[in-house]
């Protein structure tokens, strides 16, 4: 019977390893997404623009804004669409308004379509780098400063930048 006990311990440890492995898959996927620039995720820290402007072509950039159903905010881009050259710095604004009587902190999550363009869409400054806290009925204008890497594949002519705001926490109004 000792033989059985030994095998039991080996097999149970294999199961525990696989349970831990399911959690280890998370950093693994994140590294893969970062390395290959997939998942439509953009840089989360500022990047400087050292590129020469490529006058030979233009890229249409469109902006979308959505809020999570649980967030009582208005959120929309000031400009819906611009046309720029790769390598050119551009600033656009998004507008958010808190419609509730509470102080709400939220986080904007960017996403790029087509997903493969994400790694060429570089942000110098973005409101999505930080949490945003809005006082009751506060109205703010938030900048995004970005450029498009001239390495962008030639077959991409249009890029859509979309933001979704998700609520993080609500602070009760002290009034």
């Amino acid at each position: 019977m000792n033989k059985n006990k030994k095998l039991f311990i080996i097999l149970i440890s294999a199961c525990l390893f696989m349970f831990a492995f399911s959690f280890m898959l998370i950093p693994f996927y994140n590294v893969l997404c970062k390395t290959f620039g997939i998942n439509g995720k953009t840089n989360t820290e500022s990047i400087a623009n050292k590129n020469v402007i490529d006058q030979s072509r233009t890229i249409t950039v469109e902006f979308l804004a959505t809020t999570n159903t649980q967030l009582p905010w208005d959120f929309y881009p000031e400009t819906k669409k611009i046309i720029i050259h790769p390598g050119e710095n551009k600033t656009v604004f998004f507008i958010a308004k808190n419609n509730s009587d509470q102080v709400i902190t939220a986080q904007a999550i960017p996403s790029i379509t087509p997903g493969l363009a994400a790694q060429y869409f570089k942000k110098i400054e973005c409101f999505c780098f930080r949490k945003q806290t809005l006082q009751p009925h506060q109205h703010i204008k938030m900048p995004v400063v970005f450029f498009i890497d001239p390495q962008l594949p030639k077959n991409i002519h249009e890029i859509t930048l979309s933001y979704s705001f998700y609520p993080l926490y609500t602070t009760k109004n002290m009034k």
């Binding site: 039991f8 696989m18 492995f21």
Partner: protein, 506 residues
């Protein structure tokens, strides 16, 4: 009263592999009718376009329960029951390696399924997001009853892991002295590999639903984009479990068919070694194909190509198996008893399911078929005419050994033909519905799909009610019938056919 308590105590505390095998089989049989009844409700709603019988919310719950019950409550426990009954007999072991653990791994299951079913009777909806439980449907938007489902999945996972360990330990340590790996019956081989798959992926499912639970209650954001997580991560984790899982459902079936075909062809299995390697090969490939469930989620082209080619590669070992079964029959002296009929049905229709699987593996084609009834047709062709037919075949094949009585061949044949007709009427039209663009998991449909849906519903009722015939066959065989000899089948080879029918208690 004491008689009842003694009876209950006998079944609650039994450590005999035969009793536990019987318990597994009966539980899966009961759940088979339960989940089948849900399928009939679904088909009844789909008989005509428009909302006729059910509320959409309840329809979603039915779809979820039907899927979860058929997979975790019917096919998996039924094969575990077969393993419990047959493996010790086939390898000449006195019992399973851990008899008390065996008892526990069975008795976890009724509690898991009672807990899961109880959500149907709670105020508020039962889980309604499909058997795949995709986040955020199951996290942010999941009804409160989802927590019951999460815990019942933990219990089912625990049960599967423990029975997997038990099966591996039995096969490795408990074989009769001259039962070498070379002589090990192919059903036992297929279960050995399946058990390893169980140990590899059930913990991953447990981990995934644990993350779901944490996201729901403990403020983590594994699958929540707001907190830096990713809903797509759920799909990766789930299908990392889910694809090996579908092979857990089919590989013991391969083992059964590889036992039945040689018996009724009165020849030895053609290419036995190749068959074992093919199962191993499929088991390995099953870990690197999960992305084919996610072609339309925006994974990069290189990943799509990788998953497409590895998926297509699975057709090679599967093809080897099908060809070897056919070659086994070639020039054999074949007789068509019910187990053989189901085995032949398996080969024909499982291959159809395999081909529709190949069609789905082609990325550009998959973009069209995705989430349509074509997928429903495919998965039922591999699960009903694959796993379920193999289960029927196995039960007809071994029930004379278990009960000591021959079943009624006439009723068995009726059961086979009604099942085949009902099954094909139900699911063959679904291929066309899918190609025509009918989406799955929706209780209503456009008018042009009406005719095929009516045919499918009629077929489903034939298929469903003919299973009552099977219940009758089983009960009749248990209660009496022609005495079975130890050999039972003229062409059967193996240790279990040397034992008397039924084999003695221990």
């Amino acid at each position: 009263m004491t008689k009842f308590f003694n009876y209950a105590k006998r079944w609650l505390t039994t450590t005999n592999h035969k009793d536990i095998g019987t318990l597994y089989l009966w539980m899966s049989f009961i759940l088979f009718f339960f989940a089948g009844f849900m399928a009939l409700l679904i088909r009844a709603e789909l008989f005509q376009p428009g909302m006729k019988l059910l509320q959409p919310e309840f329809y979603n719950q039915l779809v979820t329960f039907h899927g979860l019950m058929m997979i975790f409550g019917v096919i998996m426990p039924a094969f575990t029951g077969l393993a419990n009954w047959q493996i010790p007999l086939m390898i000449g072991a006195p019992d399973m390696a851990f008899p008390r653990l065996n008892n526990w791994s069975f008795w976890l299951l009724p509690f898991a399924f009672v807990m899961m079913t109880s959500t149907l009777f709670m105020s508020g909806p039962a889980p309604n997001f499909g058997w795949t439980m995709y986040a955020p449907l199951s996290t942010t938007f999941g009804p409160p009853s989802t927590d019951y489902l999460i815990f019942s999945i933990h219990l089912m996972g625990l049960s599967s892991i423990l029975s997997g360990i038990n099966i591996i330990a039995t096969i490795i340590n408990m074989r009769a002295p001259d039962m070498t790996w070379k002589k090990l019956p192919i059903f036992v081989w297929s279960w050995l590999i399946t058990a390893f798959l169980l140990l590899a992926v059930m913990p991953v499912l447990a981990g995934t639903v644990t993350m779901m639970l944490f996201d729901r209650h403990f403020g983590t954001s594994f699958f929540n984009a707001a907190g830096g997580g990713d809903p797509l991560l759920y799909q990766h984790l789930f299908w990392f479990f889910g694809h090996p899982e579908v092979y857990i459902l089919i590989m013991p079936a391969f083992g059964v068919i590889s036992e039945v075909i040689p018996t009724f062809s009165r020849k030895t299995l053609f290419g036995r070694t190749a068959m074992i390697y093919a199962i191993g090969c499929i088991a390995f490939l099953s870990f690197i194909v999960w992305g084919h469930h996610m072609f339309t989620t925006g994974i990069p082209l290189s990943a799509q190509l990788f998953f497409m080619y590895t998926t297509m590669l699975i057709a090679v070992p599967t093809g080897i198996k099908v060809f070897n079964w056919i070659t086994t029959m070639y020039k054999g002296s074949i007789s068509f008893e019910t187990p053989m009929l189901f085995a032949l049905g398996f080969i024909f229709m499982f291959t159809i399911g395999g081909f529709s699987g190949l069609m789905l593996s082609i990325v550009p084609a998959d973009f069209q078929y995705r989430n349509s009834y074509f997928v429903v047709a495919h998965l039922h062709y591999v699960l009903i005419s694959g796993s379920l037919f193999a289960l029927f075949s196995a039960i007809y094949y071994w029930i004379p050994k278990w009960t000591g009585h021959m079943y009624s061949e006439k009723l068995g044949r009726w059961h086979f033909w009604l099942t085949v007709i009902g099954f094909n009427l139900t699911f063959f039209p679904m291929h066309f519905l899918g190609l025509g663009g009918m989406p799955r998991r929706i209780p209503d449909y456009a008018l042009q799909y009406t005719n095929f849906n009516m045919i499918a519903t009629i077929g489903a009722f034939i298929l469903g009610f003919s299973q009552l015939l099977f219940l009758a066959v089983v009960i009749k065989t248990i209660r009496g019938g022609k005495k079975a000899t130890a050999q039972v089948w003229e062409g059967a080879v193996g240790l279990e056919w040397k034992l008397p029918s039924p084999p003695s208690g221990h």
